[in-house]
Symmetry: C2
Subunit: 175 residues, 2 copies
């Protein structure tokens, strides 16, 4: 069975700094019409990085939409036209102060494909050199270092609740 | 350092069937103002379910926002006021035709907390009884059964690209 949905009409609802929102009308496989709410996102990267001391780099920051501080892997949105690998190196250094001389692509996934096109590129960074954390002026991020197995334990205990970070930590622990 | 952001104003942008969108003005820890684009979502469940034959239940469906068919764990949005555990049993049966006599809460996570409050409750379902798939009239879902280790392989090979499904599969494989 062909599961595809054919776009009949697109309606732009909102153009923001980070996301855009559309409501499209589609034709379903059974010929009926339906609407699809779509959040457009530029895509992002997540980085699994171990320091020379074999500690995983994490960042603690406030996540306004969920009203809590979270412990996450370093991550960030792609700038326009930016290659994911370049973004991974840039975001890691901005958020943690560590520059990676090596990055390895692990995989990519969609954070919530039912309503959003956000794609997440997952990298492992190695051969790190400590420089200086230099977040954007309005970005507030605290660096936390943990052995990978302690980060895995914080996934299973519920202390790490960010989906992309859980993917990255379990992926790196199992690969 | 207190990382919290204080809400100064909320502006409703869009009220949809699945999501709502707001743009809030917040006060940052440094006293400056910034805007936050927020997608409101009702929350959802994802279910790791093994059949009596020890096969993992997956579903193939079209995901319009990313323009592809995906192989995912059974999942679905919470109805208003619905307990996640009840939703897990309901969605598993609707999408796969299997009724779970036992469900175990594994954990919860946020799919993209930078701009969205979607929370995902992860369950393991056991003691399954085969009944009848009964999707909504406009829902098109194909059931796929795989040994858990084959699903893990499809994560690492890039064939499974849905974030919540990757979390569920790696979580179940490692726990």
């Amino acid at each position: 069975m062909d599961l595809r949905e054919k776009t009949l009409r697109k309606k732009n609802i909102f153009t923001g700094n980070i996301i855009n929102v559309r409501v499209d009308t589609v034709e379903l496989p059974n010929g009926r019409e339906a609407t699809r709410e779509v959040v457009e996102h530029p895509g992002a990267v997540t980085v699994v990085a171990l320091t020379p001391e074999r500690e995983l780099l994490l960042v603690r920051q406030h996540r306004y939409p969920i009203g809590q501080d979270t412990l996450e892997l370093p991550a960030g949105k792609l700038d326009a036209g930016e290659a994911p690998e370049v973004c991974a190196i840039r975001e890691l250094e901005e958020e943690t102060g560590y520059r990676a001389r090596q990055v390895e692509f692990l995989g990519k996934f969609y954070t919530s494909p039912g309503f959003c096109n956000e794609i997440m590129y997952l990298y492992r960074a190695a051969d790190l050199e400590e420089r200086e954390q230099r977040c954007d002026e309005d970005e507030f991020v605290q660096v936390v270092k943990l052995p990978l197995e302690k980060a895995v334990a914080k996934v299973y205990s519920g202390e790490i609740v960010d989906g992309k970070s859980i993917v990255g930590i379990l992926w790196a622990a199992g690969a």
